[in-house]
Symmetry: C2
Subunit: 255 residues, 2 copies
């Protein structure tokens, strides 16, 4: 008589290691900033080969869950990551590249988050208006280049998100910005009348800051939506993926 | 004379392989649904060991950029992933576990995205109102359990996001839901008067659907915000991480 045995369904060992480490995180026993035991110690504790531990850790590094810090001190080694900004950015950028998401999709989500940020801000006692105006002064300076303006524009929007005291909101905003950074820069560079275009962006930003100062949330939200949507309409043909695919790799934080 | 040479700064080979594959994505030469060459072919083309190729692919699998499909047919093998829902969920859940984000952070972002979804929906000619009412009928059925209600609640909110025709919005919503799914279920189960609590949720959902049917976007957004925030206020002490850390692993899609 022949036995009719189905194959044993067994995940690769490194996946079991990942699963065990994830459960430690979900259970709150591994927190951001904690240091993982070394490869040998993990291998002994878990009863698996060092190769399996290494593979698991590489996968967690790809997810930006674990960061390797050089050196031998107490803050070196494999540290649990505090914020997945780069992982989020990478994921979004890759999926714009894979055409899972269009730039229009990203813009619509960005508008929602920007609206959330300014709504939160107008409810706060203190807003760093001086910091925002200082960024806009730099952006309004004669001779500002598209590259400088793109960077200052990012800082302006990220400052609003950061001041809203919601790290997920700020990280999402950063990721969405990063995902379209090179496309935006291409669009800036292609403007036939760059100084006028830059001045328009600064004026729209100033109006948003004024609305924040007046604690007029509805106006600030409306101005922000108009600002992002007008920008997108003006440059949509240049920032859709495909149009800029060849240069998008420049901004790859891991390239 | 001794030469004083600094060490060569060289990324591990598997990282170079990842970088090359990412650049193919950014350049639009690898799209969702495409099949990667096999391990041997990649190893020959890139001039690296098969072990390096394997490590790179495992890291890309951890990021849900590549999916392994079993079998030998034309749709099997290593396929470029179409949607990073699971990767986004994992990332958010892990970072709730790592205490990078609080459930309050997630809820605030979720409210923004829900508002975006209903705003988009009221501008559409067709909304699947019947489908939404059918879900609510099932949620209003006598004897509905917290587990069933949680699932139906998720389907309701995801249906709104999906109908907004923005895959990123839908994927973010799914990821945010997944990240707090077990915490929400704990909160449902702990309600002292579950039938009344469930009826309240259904009534709030019905009001949102009515506002959508009337194409009253402002009302729909307000009702949605009130609904999510009221729910959060009612159960906040149960769904903050730490309170539910021990059970959160149950819902791990990879556990």
């Amino acid at each position: 008589m022949d036995l009719d045995l189905a194959p044993v369904d067994r995940a690769p060992t490194y996946e079991l290691v990942i699963s065990r480490l994830k459960n430690e995180i979900f259970a709150g026993r591994l927190r951001a900033g904690d240091r993982l035991p070394g490869e040998r110690q993990l291998s002994e504790q878990l009863g698996v080969s060092r190769a399996s531990v290494r593979e698991a850790i590489r996968a967690l590094q790809a997810l930006e869950i674990v960061n390797a810090r050089p050196g031998n001190g107490p803050t070196s080694g494999l540290i649990m990551t505090a914020r997945p900004r780069i992982a989020l950015s990478n994921l979004l950028r890759l999926h714009v590249g894979l055409a899972s998401y269009s730039v229009a999709d990203l813009m619509a989500v960005r508008v929602s988050l920007e609206a959330q940020a300014v709504t939160t801000l107008v409810a706060k006692d203190h807003i760093d208006l001086d910091g925002l105006h200082a960024l806009l002064d730099r952006m309004a300076a004669p001779g500002v280049t598209p590259d400088e303006a793109q960077d200052l524009d990012a800082q302006f929007h990220l400052s609003l998100a950061s001041q809203a005291d919601n790290p997920l909101l700020a990280d999402m905003m950063q990721a969405l910005r990063d995902a379209i950074a090179t496309s935006m820069l291409d669009a800036f560079r292609a403007q036939p009348d760059w100084p006028a275009f830059a001045a328009g962006i600064v004026a729209e930003h100033r109006a948003i800051v004024d609305a924040l100062e007046a604690r007029d949330g509805a106006l600030a939200v409306r101005l922000m939506r108009d600002h992002v949507e007008a920008f997108y309409d003006a440059v949509a043909d240049r920032i859709e993926p495909g149009a800029t695919g060849a240069t998008a790799a420049i901004g790859d934080p891991e390239a």
